[in-house]
C-alpha cells in the first residue's frame, strides 16, 4: 500500500474496527495478544468473517465529525462534463451532505488551474489529466493534487466544420486546424490517438491548439478551426447553430473513457478531512443520480440557466439523453453518449501518463503506478460509494478495451510495452 493511501486510510480510518476488536477480544491486552500471535491482517480477516466490519466502518464514517469548513467555493467550466458538480448546487446535494457550496464559473482551464492552486477555490472541476500533470509539475508549478472522483465518462465528440462534410477518416484531415480544450485533456490525447491510428502525425500533419470550450463554436464559425474534439454542449451547439457536424463520438474511440474529474489540492484533503469526505459524498451522490437516464431531462433543466451552463435546454437535453441530430441530417439515438461514473481506476491514470509520455509532455521517467495511486484516490471513492449504499468495483486497475486502433487492449501492468507499440510517437 502506498504511503499516501495508508495515510488516507488512517485519515478516514476506522476507530469502529478497533472498538469491535476490543469488544471481541476482551480489551486492549487480549486484542494485542491475538494480533501478535496471528498478525494484524489475519486478525482483521478473522474478525471480518464473524462481523461486518466494513459496513460498520462505513456507517461510522458517514457519521464522522462535522465538516471543519462548511462554506466552500468550487470552480467549474460551463460544460456538461461538470454536470454532477454543477447540479449538486441547484438540486441540493451539497446541502444534503451538510455543506454550503458556491460553484463559480471560470473562463479557461488555465484559470481553473490558477484559481485552485492559489486557493481561491477549495476544490474544482478539472480535466482528469490535470491533477496528474500538476502533481508532476508538468506545465505548471508542482503541487500535490488528489482526484477522488471522475465526473463523466464518454460525452465528447469530434466536430468538423460543415464545409468538411465529405471527410470520413483521419487521412482526409491532413492540414486541419483542430481545437482541444487544454494540453492536459483527454480531448487532446484521444484526438491524437485517433489521428495517429489513422496514420496522421498530430504534431506534423495537423495543428492542434488549446481553445477554451465556450469559444470553440465561434472559432468554428469564423473558420479559425476546421474541427475540434471538445466537451459538450459545444459539439451539439455547433449542430444547433448549423456550423458543424458530429464526426465521431469519443466513446467510439475508447468506450467508457474518463473525461472530467473532481479534484482538490492534497492539502485540502488532509487539512479538512471531514469537509473533504462530505464533499466527496455529495459529488458521488450527484454522479450516481446523474447516472440514471430517467433523471437526465430534469438535470438538463437544472443546469441550463445563466448561473450555470447558460445554454438552451434543448441542446442540453440532446446531449444528456443521447437523442440528437448529428448535423448530417440524421437523428441518432445513443443512450451512452455521455455517462456518469465516479470510480477513478488507477489504470485510467496510467493510460493518461503513457500518453503524456508518448507526446513529449512528460520528459522524465515516472513510476506510473505510484503516481496513479497518489493522485487517483480509488480507495476513497470506493469507501464513499459503499457508504452511500452503492456497489463499488473491488479492483482499482483493469484492462481497458479501445474501439479502434492497432493495440486495442491497454494492459496497465505493461505501460512501457504499450508505449512502444505505437508507430507514431515523439519518444
Amino acid at each position: 500500500m502506498h504511503a499516501f493511501e495508508a495515510e488516507r486510510d488512517e485519515m478516514l480510518g476506522c476507530a469502529v474496527e478497533r472498538s469491535i476488536e476490543h469488544a471481541v477480544f476482551g480489551g486492549e491486552i487480549g486484542r494485542r495478544a491475538f494480533i501478535a500471535r496471528v498478525g494484524a491482517s489475519t486478525a482483521a480477516a478473522a474478525l471480518a468473517s464473524v462481523f461486518p466490519v466494513a459496513a460498520a466502518c462505513a456507517l461510522a464514517q458517514d457519521k464522522a465529525g462535522p465538516p471543519e469548513k462548511k462554506q466552500l467555493k468550487i470552480g467549474f467550466i460551463p460544460i456538461t462534463c461538470a454536470t454532477p458538480i454543477i447540479m449538486a448546487q441547484p438540486m441540493g446535494f451539497y446541502k444534503k451532505h451538510g455543506l454550503d457550496v458556491q460553484v463559480t464559473k471560470a473562463s479557461s482551464w488555465a484559470m481553473i488551474r490558477d484559481l485552485s492552486i492559489n486557493g481561491e477555490t477549495d476544490a474544482t472541476h478539472m480535466l482528469s489529466p490535470m491533477p496528474l500533470a500538476i502533481t508532476l509539475g508538468v506545465g505548471s508549478q508542482s503541487v500535490p493534487y488528489v482526484m477522488p472522483a471522475v465526473e463523466n465518462i464518454n460525452g465528447q465528440a469530434i466536430t468538423l466544420a460543415t464545409k468538411h462534410k465529405g471527410v470520413t477518416a483521419p487521412s482526409d484531415m491532413k492540414g486541419f486546424k483542430f481545437g482541444v480544450p487544454f494540453d492536459f485533456s483527454m480531448h487532446n490525447f484521444l484526438l491524437r490517438y485517433y489521428l495517429a491510428e489513422g496514420g496522421v502525425d498530430p504534431d506534423k500533419d495537423v495543428q492542434i491548439r488549446a481553445v477554451p470550450p465556450p469559444e470553440m463554436v465561434a472559432n468554428l464559425r469564423a473558420g479559425n478551426l476546421d474541427g475540434y474534439l471538445a466537451p459538450d454542449p459545444f459539439n451539439q451547439r455547433a449542430v444547433f447553430e448549423e456550423v458543424g457536424f458530429i464526426h465521431l463520438l469519443s466513446k467510439d474511440i475508447w468506450p467508457g473513457h474518463p473525461c472530467c474529474a473532481f479534484a482538490a489540492k492534497r492539502e485540502f484533503a488532509t487539512a479538512t478531512p471531514n469537509t473533504f469526505r462530505a464533499l466527496l459524498s455529495a459529488i458521488v451522490d450527484a454522479t450516481q443520480y446523474a447516472r440514471d437516464r430517467a433523471h437526465r431531462k430534469e438535470i438538463a433543466t437544472a443546469i441550463a440557466p445563466k448561473n450555470f451552463l447558460n445554454q438552451p435546454v434543448e441542446v442540453l437535453e440532446q446531449v444528456l439523453t443521447g437523442v440528437y441530430p448529428d448535423g448530417l441530417g440524421n437523428t441518432k439515438t445513443v443512450p451512452d453518449r455521455i455517462d456518469f461514473d465516479p470510480f477513478p481506476y488507477h489504470s485510467m491514470a496510467i493510460w493518461i501518463l503513457t500518453q503524456m509520455k508518448r507526446w513529449g509532455y512528460l520528459k522524465s521517467d515516472v513510476t506510473y503506478k505510484k503516481v496513479a495511486e497518489e493522485v487517483f484516490l480509488a480507495g476513497a471513492c470506493r469507501d464513499t460509494l459503499k457508504a452511500l449504499g452503492y456497489r463499488a468495483p473491488e479492483t482499482t486497475s483493469v484492462k481497458h478495451a479501445f474501439a479502434l486502433g492497432k493495440t486495442r487492449l491497454f494492459d496497465p501492468d505493461k505501460p512501457d510495452d504499450y508505449l512502444k507499440s505505437f508507430a507514431i510517437r515523439k519518444v
Binding site: 458556491q102 463559480t104 464559473k105 473562463s107 492552486i117 465556450p214 445563466k306 448561473n307 447558460n310
Partner: protein, 259 residues
C-alpha cells in the same frame, strides 16, 4: 454660434438614424439566430436588462448594473493607484532631466506591453485573481499619465520656478502652489488618456479571469452566443467610456490657464 450648435445636433441625429436604419435593413428578413440581431432586438433586450439592473441570482448571474459597478469599482482602485504613482514619478522625472534620460529607456520598453500580457505573471505571484485584474489596470493606466506629467513638469516656464526660488518657498509649497498647478493641464491630459486605456483593459481582463464585471458578462453571453446581450454590453461599455472621458474633460477645462 447657437445655429451652428443646432446644426451639429441635427447632423449627429441624422447620422445615428442612418446607421441604425442600415443595420436594421441589413438584418431584416433574416431568421433570428442566423445573423446578427438588429437594433430593435437589441433595444428589446436592453429594455429587459435595464428593467432589472441589480438582480443577483448567484455568483455567475447578476444584473447588468451590478456587473458595471463591479468593473467600475475594480477600475477605480487600479486607476487611483496608477495615477498616484504616475504623478509622483512624473514630477520627479520632469524636474530632473538626467534622471528622466536614465529612466526613459525602461519606460519606453514597458509602455508598449499589452497590460494583459502581465496577467499570467500577476496570477502566479500575487495568487489572487481580483488583485491581478486590478494590477492589470495599474499597468494600463500608468504610462500615459507618467509621460504627460514628466513632459508637463519639464516644460514649466523657468520663470515660475525662479520666482519660487527667489521667494524661498519650501519644497512642499513649491510643489503645491507652483509645480502641480503649472503642469496641471498636461497631467489631466495624461489622466484622460489613462482612464480610456484602463476602461479598455478592464473589459479584456475580466474576460480572462471571469467572475464578475462587464467583461465577464460579455464572455458569458458569448459562451451562449447571445449576441443581443453582447451588442448591448458593447454599447454600454462605449457609453461609460464617454462619460468617464467627459468627466475628466470637464476637470481639464477647469484647470487650464492662459500664459
Amino acid at each position: 454660434m447657437r445655429r451652428d450648435r443646432l446644426r451639429v445636433i441635427v447632423y449627429s441625429a441624422l447620422l445615428g438614424a442612418v446607421m441604425l436604419g442600415l443595420w436594421q435593413a441589413a438584418v431584416a428578413g433574416k431568421p433570428t439566430g442566423k445573423s446578427i440581431p438588429g437594433p430593435i432586438a437589441v433595444a428589446a433586450a436592453a429594455a429587459d436588462m435595464l428593467a432589472h439592473p441589480f438582480y443577483d441570482n448567484g455568483p455567475n448571474d447578476k444584473g447588468i448594473g451590478l456587473q458595471i459597478a463591479a468593473s467600475l469599482g475594480r477600475m477605480a482602485i487600479g486607476y487611483t493607484i496608477a495615477s498616484i504613482v504616475a504623478v509622483a514619478l512624473g514630477v520627479t522625472l520632469g524636474l530632473s532631466p538626467i534622471l528622466y534620460r536614465a529612466v526613459n529607456p525602461y519606460v519606453q520598453v514597458l509602455k508598449p506591453i499589452s497590460p494583459l500580457a502581465w496577467m499570467p505573471l500577476f496570477l502566479y505571484t500575487i495568487r489572487d485573481s481580483t488583485q491581478a485584474a486590478v494590477l492589470v489596470i495599474v499597468m494600463s493606466s500608468l504610462w500615459p499619465t507618467l509621460a504627460n506629467t514628466a513632459f508637463g513638469v519639464a516644460s514649466i516656464k523657468r520663470d515660475y520656478l525662479n520666482v519660487a526660488a527667489i521667494l524661498q518657498l519650501s519644497w512642499p509649497r513649491r510643489l503645491v502652489t507652483v509645480i502641480l498647478p503649472a503642469a496641471a493641464p498636461a497631467i489631466v491630459a495624461g489622466l484622460r488618456i489613462s482612464v480610456g486605456s484602463a476602461w479598455v483593459a478592464i473589459v479584456a481582463a475580466e474576460m480572462l479571469i471571469g467572475g464578475t464585471g462587464i467583461g465577464y458578462f460579455v464572455w458569458n453571453e458569448w459562451n451562449n452566443l447571445a449576441l443581443t446581450s453582447v451588442i448591448f454590453a458593447i454599447l454600454a461599455i462605449g457609453l461609460i467610456g464617454v462619460l468617464l472621458d467627459a468627466g475628466l474633460g470637464r476637470l481639464a477645462r477647469r484647470l487650464s490657464y492662459q500664459e
